[in-house]
């Protein structure tokens, strides 16, 4: 059985206090708790501070180009469905340049888990407006404050048919780890948005802000994560400042829905056509 150190990769270079440390820690704990083997896991990450997660986590990794984590991760999974595949990125990577892929990945429902480290700002490029920046938020690219309506990842995911929608906070590692465990175990595409404060460039969406404002769905005994209407209402009531598993609904995965797709990892098999295969295939041209 793998232990915590097996899931450690390179030494992180994030700013001290960065929310992404919490995400990394929670993910490492989750992997241990689930008894996963780091070399049966792949983390596909995008560009930005969050993109470094693949190097710092101890699994196989693919640090891809900006905004394309989801297509790449789906490709990995389709090549070998026996692997545990995670895609990780930030709010810029996923909801800016990569937004189109996000919606289609949810529709497609390939069995991967998508973590978004949402800090409402572009950090690695030293502080520009992000798609989730609050209206009026002042950055280097919006000196008079952001004027565009922010992306609402949770309600967007619900309306796109995502079968697992959750939100965590990197300041609450036990809860985040519990969410990630369920997300990885969920059969199908699972989406976990994570409040991951940028301590250097965002003085508005801080640890303190989330600690004092966040509502946990688990504190509501009436809450039912199988109810889409309740999930929508909860997001509305809390203005999305809510954590926990908001919605879980099982629908057949892409892998189980496309006709005849291999039940075992394609990458582990030999794929050679026999003479008889060729004879059969050539008949149509005769």
């Amino acid at each position: 059985m793998a232990v915590l150190t097996d899931f450690k990769g390179e030494k992180p270079t994030w700013c001290p206090g960065c929310g992404d440390y919490g995400v990394l820690n929670a993910l490492q704990r989750t992997a241990v708790d689930l008894g996963l083997d780091p070399e049966d896991m792949v983390v596909v990450s995008g560009i930005g501070c969050s993109g470094k997660l693949s190097a710092y986590f101890g699994s196989y990794g693919l640090h891809t180009i900006h905004g394309r984590t989801l297509p790449t991760a789906q490709g990995v999974k389709l090549a070998n469905r026996d692997l545990t595949v995670l895609a990780a990125g930030g709010d810029g990577d996923g909801f800016g340049i990569g937004m189109g892929h996000f919606i289609h990945a949810m529709r497609r429902n390939v069995d991967i888990t998508y973590l978004v480290m949402d800090n409402h700002i572009y950090g690695l490029t030293t502080g520009q407006t992000s798609p989730t920046s609050d209206p009026g938020f002042v950055t280097k690219t919006a000196p008079k404050g952001a004027v565009e309506f922010p992306v609402h990842p949770l309600s967007l995911a619900l309306s796109a048919g995502c079968g697992f929608v959750a939100q965590g906070f990197s300041g609450d590692i036990p809860q985040l780890s519990a969410i990630l465990k369920r997300a990885i175990q969920h059969k199908g595409f699972s989406f976990v948005n994570i409040f991951s404060p940028c301590v250097t460039f965002n003085k508005q969406n801080t640890y303190e802000f989330y600690k004092s404002n966040v509502v946990k769905v688990d504190d509501d005994p009436e809450y039912d994560a199988g109810n889409l209407g309740l999930a929508m209402a909860k997001i509305e009531q809390t203005q999305s400042i809510v954590t926990g598993v908001l919605y879980e609904h099982n629908r057949p995965t892409y892998e189980d829905s496309v006709p005849n797709y291999s039940k075992t990892g394609l990458a582990t098999a030999q794929h050679v056509l026999t003479e008889a295969d060729f004879e059969r295939l050539l008949t149509q041209f005769q």
Binding site: S54, I65, L78
Partner: protein, 584 residues
């Protein structure tokens, strides 16, 4: 007529023109002839002129031919557009059902007005006008209606015997009508005596798709686009039979990254596209290059720039295939020159991508991809799967955690590659510059080592010769083409030789790495070099100048009006450049 017959059917798009052509071509193919079919169509579903040209020969050819002997015209526009292709003694069958179709009073052409639609209506349905036209053609060329039975059965059996019978009867009606009213005959070429066991009627796209399947490709991620979609269609039918999957991605960026992800994880995967989609894939070419991830991209080129002429052929993506994407990384660019090569190169593309751990671009074009031709075999027996330096689990024994050098600076520039799931092979594939372990870094000396390592890879490239040549090295004129123009250039060479010229032909099938040593003697020794290209800039000529020099003797025959190259285009241009040369 010299061993061949050019036949064309034309009319409004959406009226069954293609199926008329298909039935005629398939019938001739099954009788043992060689058919080569070129489709002319427009980017709309209904209306607009479309035509289907079939060249029937007694030998395999790679071109639809300049000449037209029989034209079946369902409307006025078909006559207007195609009249000037008619040869003396040719026959035009015009549908006279709703008024006489007009035609120029030029040339020695027999014009036969026949109520094709009217006869079809009498036999049951106007839709069968196409079958009536097939029957008329049969009468002209000396076939019998029964010759068409096997193809008609294959097409209509599912709809019941009554449908088969009524189609065959429509053929008979056309056949009888022609024989009763007209007497002009044209002969088919002599019928080949023996039919090869694998006498196949197949398109470049189908051959490419079959090659991918044979290579072990089990994931195709693609976005529909003319003229590459048939590759998707074919694989969506056959990949599932082998456990694989075709993913219709949301866009080409997604498609290429899915293919990259799947290759990284150890399953052979590709994407197929055309110019606009290929343009969207540029960033991932760089990622595949620096992360040394195998990647196969099929670009079935069409006319650009932008949307260009979306249903017309062109060879104008060569610059993009060679240079597209920022930064510098190695890549392989294959340009298959025959349908057989589409198959062979598709197989080889996957081997090369894994051997050299870099992107391989298989660039065919609309003309190659969508034209169907009769060939005598596909080389299925020599299909091999070579996975390069992919490590086995046993080779990883004893490699301790974090010690696997995925990007080892090796002599040949190629490093051992592990795939997820293997124990001891953990690494990060990444778009950032990195050290030998795949750790992101900015160390200057390691940066240079890694850049040089990647650049070194293709020095050992030896798998494909890259070009083929015929004719003398010191020819008066040497014709040089790449990709789909092999057939037409070969015929132009013959025509020029018949006029007493000394002519050589070099056809380039691998543009990168450029087969300079093989080509150089033919350029060095030639009086004049004429590149033949379906683009406006002479992109291949630029490669010759860049790789070999000889700027003063390289000229080009270029076509970019949407139509494929013809023999006469090349002959005319060759004579122009030779006469200018001789004046000097």
């Amino acid at each position: 007529m010299n061993g061949e017959l050019g036949w064309k059917v034309g009319g409004e798009q959406g009226e069954g023109i293609d199926s008329t052509g298909e039935i005629f071509a398939w019938t001739l193919h099954r009788l043992g002839y060689y058919a080569f079919a070129y489709r002319h169509f427009m980017s709309r579903v209904k209306g607009g002129h479309t035509n289907y040209k079939i060249r029937v020969t007694d030998r395999a050819v790679g071109h639809h031919g300049d000449d037209l002997h029989i034209l079946v015209a369902f409307d006025q526009e078909t006559v207007n557009v195609n009249w000037n292709e008619m040869v003396g003694g040719g026959i035009v069958i015009a549908d006279g059902t709703s008024g006489e179709i007009q035609h120029p009073e030029t040339g020695d052409v027999h014009f036969c007005s026949i109520p094709l639609t009217g006869l079809a209506k009498e036999s049951g349905s106007a839709i069968m006008k196409n079958m009536v036209a097939v029957g008329v053609t049969a009468a002209i060329v000396g076939l019998t209606p029964e010759d068409f039975l096997s193809v008609i059965e294959d097409r209509f059996k599912k709809k019941g015997q009554a449908v088969v019978d009524s189609n065959l009867s429509a053929v008979r009606i056309g056949y009888d009508y022609y024989n009763q009213h007209f007497s002009h005959q044209l002969r088919l070429p002599s019928r080949p005596v023996a039919i090869a066991p694998h006498h196949l009627y197949i398109s470049g796209n189908e051959a490419t798709a079959l090659g991918a399947l044979a290579a072990g490709c089990r994931v195709l991620a693609a976005y529909p686009i003319t003229p590459a979609t048939e590759i998707m269609y074919w694989l969506v039918k056959y990949l599932p039979e082998y456990g694989g999957v075709v993913v219709q991605a949301e866009d080409e960026i997604s498609a290429v990254n899915m293919a990259l992800g799947a290759n990284y994880a150890g399953t052979r995967a590709m994407t197929s596209t055309s110019g606009p989609g290929f343009s969207l894939m540029m960033e991932t070419l760089g990622l595949a290059g620096i992360s040394e991830t195998p990647l196969v991209i099929v670009d079935v080129q069409r006319s650009g720039p932008s949307t260009g002429l979306p249903t017309k052929t062109e060879q104008s993506d060569l610059y993009e295939a060679l240079y597209g994407s920022h930064g510098e990384s190695p890549r392989i660019v294959l340009t298959p020159t025959t349908i057989e090569e589409c198959f062979r190169f598709a197989v080889e593309a996957f081997n090369l991508a894994e051997t050299y751990q870099c992107p391989v671009i298989l660039a065919s074009d609309l003309y190659m991809g969508m034209s169907k031709g009769s060939i005598d075999s596909l080389d299925t027996s020599s299909v091999q799967i070579r996975r390069g330096k992919l490590v086995t689990q046993s080779e990883l024994e004893g490699v301790s955690r974090g010690e696997f050098k995925r990007y080892q600076v090796s002599e040949d520039g190629i490093s051992p590659r592990a795939i997820p799931g293997q124990k001891g092979g953990r690494f990060i594939a990444l778009g950032n510059e990195h050290d030998e372990f795949g750790i992101e870094m900015e160390d200057q000396s390691m940066r240079v080592l890694q850049m040089d390592k990647r650049a070194r890879k293709l020095q050992s490239f030896h798998e494909l010769s890259g070009a083929s040549a015929s004719g003398p090295k010191d020819a008066q004129i040497t014709l040089v083409g790449f990709g789909s123009t092999r057939g037409v250039i070969d015929e132009a060479r013959t025509a020029l030789m018949q006029q007493g010229l000394s002519v050589a032909h070099v056809q380039v099938s691998v543009v990168a790495p450029f087969p300079a040593d093989l080509i150089r003697p033919y350029i060095a020794g030639a009086g004049t070099v004429l590149t033949v290209e379906v683009n406006s800039r002479g992109q291949l000529a630029d490669q010759l100048r860049l790789q070999l020099g000889y700027h003063d003797k390289i000229q080009s025959c270029l076509k970019y009006d949407g139509d494929p190259m013809l023999v006469k285009d090349i002959v005319k241009r060759a004579k122009e450049v030779i006469s200018v040369g001789s004046v000097n």
